[in-house]
Amino acid sequence: MSTGLRCAGLGHRYRRKIWGLRDCSLDVPAGRVVALVGPNGSGKTTLMSMAAGLLPASTGRVEAAGGAPAQRLDRIGFVAQDAPLWPRLRVADVLEIGRCMNHGFDAAMASERIRRLGIRTRARISALSGGERAQVALTLVLAKRPELFLLDEPTANLDPLARREFLGSMFEACSETGATVLYSSHAVAELERICDYLIVLRSGHLRVAGDIDELRQQHRVIRGPDGWPDGGGWQVISQRSTAGRTTALVRRDGAQLAGPGLHDAAPTFDELVLGYLEGDAATRHEEALA
């Protein structure tokens, strides 16, 4: 199976020796829609910028749409957070630049989409609402017909109808061309419908990456009397205690079963994501020292 995005030991160190991303290795098969989740400052934008060829790797390497990003720029479509576009240009000019700078740009589709959305082509970008600006940027990236979409919180500024319309267009592109999508969002609830692959980052480290349905099978949420996971050989991802009960997200090892007095359930998508976002105390301690 071909690869949509591959990283090996990938890291980027910003000036003043702060690591934006550290030792990240993952392999996303082509055609997947990936939920990229992490708190602010966890490395999501750093990973996207490196995959887009905008930021060099300090360590390791990254392959996007089947090659080094710098060689695959025509196959990669990146929409940065808040959809930055030249504010003084008119919508029509932005579309024309998109056509001139991208081989195979679907100009007819782009103007038809802008017309359908009721955005005036004579308007300057600076005069558009946040949602309209996002739609112009998303139209550019759809018309480019990339193999890899890198979308940093693409629907944050869209109303629910615009959001559904955009997702429909994105899914159509995925079905038609088999494109891979890296989709970052803080809205965990929307990601379960949109994505089939999960990447969780925290403090510049990769916490987990994998097929969502497989991850749900590989984990359990177990509830029991306080302190039950101690010394039980469980691989605890995160745990919290309330009212004398401890609930933990654990990785299931083979046939290991919850013992008597433990309540055992498959994790919901939220429990899986939040479990990896929280992490266990030991990891937090390590990070504080790092």
Partner: protein, 136 residues
């Protein structure tokens, strides 16, 4: 025809599979009936096409549907599920039981909990019942 409950413990592709199974069992979907296309499901639910393709693949694997290249997906001629005609005796008595539970002031949630207990722990309940009957 599909509904999705994101945030429930059940993966979305499995929810789609269960809904088709249920409709076939209830006879709401008949052999030869056409299912919506992947694109139609994606558009109406805003779910990832891979998820819908996976659900249809699973249904095909279970022998519930057949896919005809370029035509669509159809309920199989002899789907391997036992059909549950909609108005048999059991459903009638269940409906009367639900009606009585409502008259007793139970909510839908409470009724579901009772049903789950009866499904999951029948031995315990029947044991308690017999013990109580023996004592009285």
């Amino acid at each position: 025809m599909f509904r999705v409950d994101a945030g429930s413990g059940v993966p979305i592709y499995r929810q789609l599979v269960q809904q088709v199974r249920r409709d076939v069992m209830l006879g709401r979907l008949q052999p030869g009936d056409q299912l919506p296309s992947v694109k139609e499901v994606v558009d109406s639910l805003s779910v990832n096409p891979n998820t819908v393709v996976k659900a249809f693949g699973e249904l095909e694997h279970q022998g519930l549907v057949v896919r005809r290249q370029g035509v669509g997906t159809f309920v199989a001629a002899a789907p391997p599920v036992t059909s549950l005609p909609v108005a048999p005796k059991l459903l009638g008595s269940l409906a009367r039981w639900v009606d009585r539970a409502r008259q007793d002031g139970l909510s839908s949630e409470q009724i579901r909990i009772l049903l789950e207990v009866a499904l999951d722990e029948p031995a315990v309940i029947l044991g308690d019942h017999r013990a109580a009957g023996g004592a009285g």
